[in-house]
């Protein structure tokens, strides 16, 4: 079966592609990444590995085709693969669309089903040591249609379990679940939408089907208020009971904006709502996703077995370009005992003039799940532009906290210095240090537990050759850890060595 898929892939790219140019529009992207180096603490010698990802799009009127081919090569043959990891046929008319193959779709707010693609990300687990694109798509068929007063979508597909590499055998374990869903959203007025969804899931090791329903609404209120919410539930549970032994997810929010001021308040209440076995639903975490490295990796991953919480955010943009953002998030998990996550965040952006700006943040958090108390994070980022498109960015960040069971303060440092010579060429140096015991300790030297500060120093350069081609080079040590993008968190591995990435559009 795998050979058949490969033959299909090769046929698609080698035979059909040249002919298709004549009939429609063919375009695509290619990402090639070469690494020489290894994971820190690995006994193995440095590896030369290459990863290539080709995305081909072909449009011809209402029809379109898409294919993603990935290839990984390393000295270890069991890690290598060449796979057509996505293929899609699509027909789109004015009011409806049919997709066959691999696609992305979300039901409601993601309480029942959410798929995603993190473009440009290359995932690697430290067990399989195989690199591949990080996405969670659906494989099957989807139909959606939209009219003035109603939108309908229906799908029958298998979500991807993306922590197993493309060459994992048996392939069926990468898509263990079958989901069938329909959603209808009605727009009786311009200011009101109400929707409902039904999903049936067949998971392995589960007798019969699990069935879920969902109700959702979005109301535009007077005075610039907007209220929205979704309630999803297992059909075996008591409707609206919201008891801890029931299976449901409730997410709602209130937005307000006027002029340069905006505010939002969100609420979540999840109970027994991790949809096994691949966990393909992603209810909103309601924890601010920070772009600052020291905070981005300190995120909270929702536990839909039992999680309640709120998030409030307010921002104000001043006339002269300054801005202020304040965020508060509170989450409590009550699986066996109560564990709280509480975070206060304040960010200011000050624009001295068109050529000099300063951004700073301060954050305080308590994370009982991670065992972190009194976690303070601070940052200061300056951006100075010069004539001829040159600029210098200095980014300094610091974090400290008390670890449960330890009397010593844990510290994290981040410093980055970046030079932009033109808008097409920049270089940067990134330094990081930590005293986190889990990171300073080498797992291979037990019973010795190293506590010396661990450091990373890496150098990046990026050169845009033209609008179609970009070359990026990294040399040095890169700190890994959890990374979150668009509400999706995944683990990035440490790396030590050199990495070259060439991105091409055509």
């Amino acid at each position: 079966m795998k050979s058949f898929a490969k033959i299909t892939a090769l046929t698609f790219f080698v035979v059909i592609t040249p002919w298709s140019i004549v009939l429609g529009q063919l375009y695509g992207t290619n990402t090639f990444e070469f690494q020489y180096g290894n994971l820190p603490f690995e006994d193995d010698t440095d590896l030369s590995t290459s990863y290539n990802q080709l995305n081909l799009y072909y449009d011809s009127g209402k029809f379109s085709l898409f294919g993603k081919a990935e290839q990984f090569l390393s000295p270890h043959s069991e890690r290598n693969y060449f796979e057509l990891t996505q293929k899609r046929f699509q027909y789109q008319d004015d009011n409806f669309r049919i997709r066959l193959g691999n696609f992305y779709e979300t039901i409601g707010s993601g309480l029942l089903l959410r798929s995603y693609d993190i473009p440009g990300s290359v995932f690697e687990s430290d067990f399989y040591r195989t690199r591949y694109a990080f996405f969670r798509d659906l494989e099957g068929i989807a139909f959606d249609a939209g009219f003035d007063w109603v939108e309908i979508k229906a799908l029958r597909a298998e979500p991807l379990q993306n922590d197993l590499p493309p060459n994992f055998d048996p392939d069926s374990l990468r898509r263990p679940d079958l989901a069938e869903a329909v959603q209808a959203t009605f727009y009786p007025t311009d200011n009101l939408s109400v929707g409902t969804a039904f999903m049936r899931v067949n998971t392995p090791n589960s007798p019969g089907f699990n069935e879920f329903g969902s109700l959702m609404t979005n109301i535009q209120l007077p005075a610039n208020f907007q209220i929205f919410g979704e309630y999803a539930f297992n059909t075996r549970s008591d409707l609206f009971s919201l008891k801890s032994d029931q299976s449901y997810a409730l997410y709602s929010g209130l937005n307000y904006f006027k002029g340069s001021f905006g505010a939002s308040l969100e609420y979540k209440n999840y109970s027994n709502f991790r949809l096994e076995s691949s966990g393909f639903n992603d209810p909103p975490s309601l924890i601010k996703e920070h772009t600052y490295p020291v905070l981005n990796r300190s995120t909270h991953v929702p536990n839909t077995a039992s999680e309640k919480g709120v998030q409030a955010e307010a921002f104000y943009s001043f006339d002269d370009g300054h801005s202020l953002v304040a965020n508060y998030a509170y989450t409590v998990n009550n699986i066996f005992n109560k564990k709280e996550y509480r975070e206060y965040f304040l960010e200011g952006f000050y624009k001295f003039n068109d050529q000099f700006s300063l951004k700073s943040f301060v954050d305080f958090a308590v994370d009982e799940q991670k065992g972190q108390d009194n976690r303070w994070s601070l940052g200061l980022i300056t951006d100075k532009s010069f004539q001829n498109s040159k600029n210098v960015i200095v980014d300094l960040q610091y974090q400290t906290y008390d670890e449960f069971g330890s009397s010593e303060k844990i510290e994290n440092y981040f410093a980055s210095l970046s030079f932009g010579f033109t808008s097409d060429f920049n270089i940067s140096a990134v330094f990081e240090a930590t005293t986190e015991p889990g990171l300073t300790d080498n797992p291979n030297t037990f019973p010795e537990i190293e506590t010396d500060t661990r450091t990373w120093l890496g150098f990046n350069s990026l050169y845009r050759i033209n609008t179609s081609n970009t070359v990026a080079l990294f040399v040095g040590k890169r700190r890994g850890g959890p990374a979150c993008t668009s509400g999706i968190c995944y683990e990035i591995l440490d790396f030590e060595g050199a990495e070259l990435r060439i991105t091409t559009r055509f």
Binding site: E78, P170, N333, E403, G405, G438, I449
Partner: protein, 266 residues
């Protein structure tokens, strides 16, 4: 053209990553891992015990939430039973300091074993099946293998452990009831008139004869003759037709012969 064909063939036959796993009813794969207390833990050391295994990742958020369940609803419940053992295995291969932090946050008191991802893969076939519970029965076979997070199957795990512990206890009772060697008890009452009971014990099923002789060595009667199960047995000797005196009773079980005397007083 040859190059194209070679490339084609090469791409078709790049290998895949496949790993086997064990199922319920199969022998639990053995392992040797180092605990956080720097002790070598061998699964085979727990032969004849019910072993509960919690596969966790030290940095896994769900495992941190569910760890206290394994401690309080599993370990604390059965910890007093000498036939029960609980083990935690870090399947994320994180540093010992990370596992120490995990132990501190979860309050787990049973042994946590380091660098156990290969064990997880051997049991589950994949490296992503952490936050799972496995129970190994007294026969060394897997009797329960969870397929979802451990907070979802506490009751099933408890039921399985209790069944296995009951089995272990009944086996123990059986073992304690079984004699360690063949015994021939003194008859009771002794002296007797006119009947008495003769008890003997077999450590294993055997062909048995119990014969009565007088002091001259003349066979009086045979009380037992046949295959008997292991355990305690009693036969009655009626001496109504015999005169007072000393008699000998002899047990032959397999290759073992035991003899005792008894006194008939009329």
């Amino acid at each position: 053209m040859k190059v194209v064909i070679r490339l084609f063939v090469l791409l078709l036959f790049v290998s895949s990553q496949s790993l086997a796993q064990v199922s319920v009813g199969e022998k639990a794969p053995d392992f040797t891992l180092t605990s956080l207390d720097n002790e070598q833990i061998l699964l085979e050391e727990f032969e004849d015990k019910v072993v509960y295994i919690f596969f966790f990742g030290a940095g896994c958020p769900h495992c941190r939430d569910n760890g206290p369940i394994t401690e309080n609803d599993i370990h604390q419940m059965y910890n007093n039973n000498e036939n029960f053992v609980a083990l935690g295995i870090d399947a994320w291969n994180e540093s010992a300091a990370s596992v120490q932090n995990f132990q501190s946050v979860t309050g787990i008191t049973y042994p946590l074993l380091l660098q156990g991802r290969d064990v997880l893969v051997e049991y589950y076939g994949t490296a992503n099946a952490y936050d799972r519970a496995v129970v190994i029965g007294i026969n060394g076979n897997i009797v329960y293998k969870g397929d979802s997070n451990v907070n979802n199957d506490v009751e099933s795990v408890q039921n399985t452990i209790e069944e296995q512990l009951a089995l272990a206890t009944s086996n123990e009772d059986l073992i304690t009831e079984l004699p360690s060697s063949i015994r021939l008890e003194q008859n009771y009452p002794n002296p007797f008139n006119p009947s008495t009971s003769i008890s003997y014990a077999l450590s294993e099923p055997s062909d048995v004869t119990v014969t009565i002789y007088n002091m001259l060595g003349v066979k009086i009667t045979t009380l037992e003759n046949g295959f008997r199960s292991a355990g305690e047995h009693t036969v009655t000797f009626d001496a109504s037709s015999l005169s007072s005196g000393i008699y000998i009773y002899r047990l032959v079980a397999g290759t073992t012969t035991l003899t005792k005397r008894m006194t008939l007083l009329k």
